[in-house]
Symmetry: C2
Subunit: 490 residues, 2 copies
Amino acid sequence: MAKDLSTREENYSQWYTDIVTKADLAENSAVRGCMVIKPYGYAIWERMQAELDKMFKDTGHQNAYFPLFIPKSFFSKEASHVEGFAKECAVVTHYRLKNDENGKGIVVDEAAKLEEELIVRPTSETIIWDTYRGWIQSYRDLPLLINQWANVVRWEMRTRLFLRTAEFLWQEGHTAHATREEAVAEAEQMLRVYAEFAESWMAIPVLKGVKSANERFAGAVETYCIEAMMQDGKALQAGTSHFLGQNFAKAFDVQFLSKENKLEHVWATSWGVSTRLMGALVMTHSDDNGLVLPPKLAPIQVVIVPIYRNEEQYRAICDKGLEIKKQLEKLGLRVKLDDRDTQKPGFKFNEWEFKGVPVRLAIGPRDLENGTVEVARRDTLEKEVLHIQDIDQKISHLLDQIQQNLFQKALDFRTANTFKVDSWEEFKIQIEKGGFIEAHWDGTAETEQFIKDETKATIRLIPFDGEAEAGKCVFSGKPSARRVVFARSY
Amino acid sequence: MAKDLSTREENYSQWYTDIVTKADLAENSAVRGCMVIKPYGYAIWERMQAELDKMFKDTGHQNAYFPLFIPKSFFSKEASHVEGFAKECAVVTHYRLKNDENGKGIVVDEAAKLEEELIVRPTSETIIWDTYRGWIQSYRDLPLLINQWANVVRWEMRTRLFLRTAEFLWQEGHTAHATREEAVAEAEQMLRVYAEFAESWMAIPVLKGVKSANERFAGAVETYCIEAMMQDGKALQAGTSHFLGQNFAKAFDVQFLSKENKLEHVWATSWGVSTRLMGALVMTHSDDNGLVLPPKLAPIQVVIVPIYRNEEQYRAICDKGLEIKKQLEKLGLRVKLDDRDTQKPGFKFNEWEFKGVPVRLAIGPRDLENGTVEVARRDTLEKEVLHIQDIDQKISHLLDQIQQNLFQKALDFRTANTFKVDSWEEFKIQIEKGGFIEAHWDGTAETEQFIKDETKATIRLIPFDGEAEAGKCVFSGKPSARRVVFARSY
C-alpha cells in the first residue's frame, strides 16, 4: 500500500481525494468550488475528448461555440428548466470596477449595473435554441447536429474534485429534428456512443436505461443514462442523453416548414458528459497503491526505469532505454524514459505506480548483459522478465490484456454487488451494504420519494435490457411489470 | 462579385461583416458583445487549435485548466495589471436567483451575495501565479511550461465579430523559469512559433518585434508581438508574447530554492493568440467574391460538384465523384462531394466560392465520357480541364501552389503598402492613405502619444530585424537609432 494514501477500507472518500491530488490530477483552487486540472489529469481528459470528439464526428455532428452568458429571462421561458437550473448559479450583475474614492482598492462601479442580469451558463439549451430560431426555417435545415465543448458553472454547495465542482468542463450536444422518431433515435444513438466510450475506452461497464420522471433532466420528456458502479458500491451517473420533445422549440418559437408545407415545431435532443468522468475513472480502477489507468487513456502507457550504480552503467542503460522507447513508439505507444539522475529507482517505481502507468520496464546492468528487461504490470502488480527481441509483440499484447482485465474486474465487481431484492426489510438491510438493488417498483413518484427519504437510495435507471417480469413493488406491494435499479449515488 | 456582398472599396467594414456572417463563420448572439461561432467557422478554429497545440507540445508545453473566476483582490496584487485588466470586466456578485415574491419571475436573491466579488477572467496571470506558489519550491520544479485553452471576457464597448468581442476563445501560455535569460528565451521562442504558424499555416506574412512601453501588456517587462497588414492597410496584432520579469512571482510570493540553495523569485512569461486570428484570416485573403481560405486551414479543401440533366446522369456522375473523393482522401485531403439534388450547380458554385473552398472540381456528362474534370482554383478563379488519371498528383500540387500564392500575394501587398517617411507633413498625408510607415522616433512616450492623438497611428512594433540607422524623429526631430513601424490598427 502506498505511503500517505488512505486505504479504501479505512476511508474511501479520503482515498479518492488523496489519489486525485497526489497523483497530480487536480486540486482545489483559491476560488470556492472551482478546481485546477493539473497537466497529468488534463492529459487524460484530452485523450477522452479526442476520442469522444471523433465518435461525435463519425456520427455526423459538428462543433460550434455559443456564449458563456445567458440572459436571466431566457431561463423563465421553459417552465421546468428554470426550476432545475436557474437557482444556484453565478450571476453577473455589473460590468465595471473602479478605484474606490476612499482608497479601499478596487470596488464594483455601481454606475455599471447591467439592465438584465447574465447567468454564467449551467447548460446551454436556452441560448442555443434562441440561436436555432434564426438557423431553422425549412425541413432542408434539419437535422441540425451540433456539439459544444465548454465550461459550465453550477453553484454547488458541497463540492468534490471532478465529481461535483462549481465550474466543470463538458461537452453538450444539441440537435434539432423534423420528427419525434428521429429525435428519439438520436438520443438513443448518443447513449450508445457514451456506453461504447465508457466500456471500450474507460474500461467501465455501464448499465443503459431511462430515468424515472423524478430524476429526469429539467425540460426533458425522457432522459436516457448510463450508470456505473464505484468500488464503494455507489452508483455514478456517467452520461445522459435527453429527448426534449418540442419543449424548447415551443419556448423559443423554433418552427420549420415541413415537406408537406406545414409549419411545425422542431424536435430536440441534448446530451452531455463532463470531467465527472475523470472521477469515475479514478474510482473504478484505482487501488490502495494509487491510481490505475486503462492503457487506452493513459498519457504514459509504458515507463522505462534504468537501474544503475555508476555513470558508465547509467549511460549504457539509458541508451538501451532510448532504443526501446523509439521501438515502442513506432508501434504507436506512449512511452517515457525516466532518465532523471536526481531520483533513485525505488522512488521512480513508487511514483509511476502511484500515477497508474500501466506497464513499467526496468533495465539493470544484468539485463543489459542478458538482453532482457523486467516488465511489471500495474493492474495485477505481476512481474516477468522478457527478452528484448520479444518486446514489440508482447508489450502491445500486454496493454490489450490490461485494458480487458480492468473491464472484466469492474464487471465482476458489479455482478458480485448487484442483488435482486423482493422485500422492504431486505431492501433496507441491503442498501446499507452498498451495491445495486434490482427491485420491483409501482411506478409512482410517491413511492420513489419515500424510498429516497428512508434509505437515500434513488432509482438509477429503468434498464433497457431488463426482462419483463411481473412482480410486486418492494415498498408498496402494488403490481409492477419489471425491476428497476436502486442505489445510493454520487 | 458576389451577390449581397459589399465590395472592399465600397465599404470595407461592411464587406468584412458580410463575409463573416454570410460565409457562416460567426454571428452576433442575444448577449451583447458575445458571438456565436458557427460550425463552419469553428471547424477552421479547430484546425488552428490542432496545429498550435502540436507546436506547443513539440516545444515542451503541457496543457492544464485553471478557474474561470478570479477573486477581485487578486487583481490588486500586481500594480500595473489591475489598471489594464480589472476595469471593464464581468463581475459576479451573487450566486442564487429566486422566485420573486410579487410574481415578477425570477430575481437575484439578495441573501446570496458573495463576500468577495468574482471577476470572469480577462486573462489568467493572477489565478495561475497564485496556484504556482504551491507547485514551485525548488529549481527542480522549473521550468514549468503550461498552456491553457480557454474562454475569456473583456467588457468591450464597441465589438466586431472575431476582432473584438466581449467573450473570446484563446490559448494562454504561462511559464515559470529559474533565470531571466531562460524566460526571455522562452518569450522569444513562442513569438517565433506564432510567426511560423501565421506564415506557414495562415499564409499571413507578419513583422516580428517588441512593443513600445505605451503598448506593453499590463504587468510585462517586455512585450513581443507579430503584426499583420490587412487589405485596408491597417495593422492587426496577431499574437503577443510577454516577458513578465519577476512581477507576478513577487506579487504572489512565488520563490524557489536555487541550485546554490538561495531563495529567489521565479521569472515568468505569458503568451497568447485568440479567435481574433479568424478575423485576420478573413481580412488578409478574402475578395469581393467572398471568403478565401488557405488550403492548410480549409475545412473542405476540394469540393466536387456534379453537373447533370437527368437521374441517370446524376447517378453515374455521383459515382464517379465518390470515386474521386475517396482517391483524394487517401492522400489525406479533405473533400466534399456536393450531391444535393435540391440545388442547381450554379448555386453550389456560388456557395462554395463564397465559403472559400480552395479547389472546385466540376464533372459533367461530357467529362464522364472523356475521363476529364474541370478544376477551378478559388484564389485566382482560373479554370483548367484535367484528365482524371492526373488528379492525384495535380490536386495536391495545386493546393500547395494556392497556399504559396496567398502568402506571396499578401507579402507583395504589404511591401507595396509600406513606406519610409522622414517628415511630419509626409507622415500626416501618408497615414490617411493607410499602410505601414517606417519612421524614426525619439523613443519618448510623449511623442508617441502626441502622434497617436494627432493621427490615430500607434507604434505597432520596433522590428527585430530593423537595421540600425541613425536618423531624426519624424515628429520631434530628436535623434533616433532605428526606424519603428507606425500604423492605424484594429
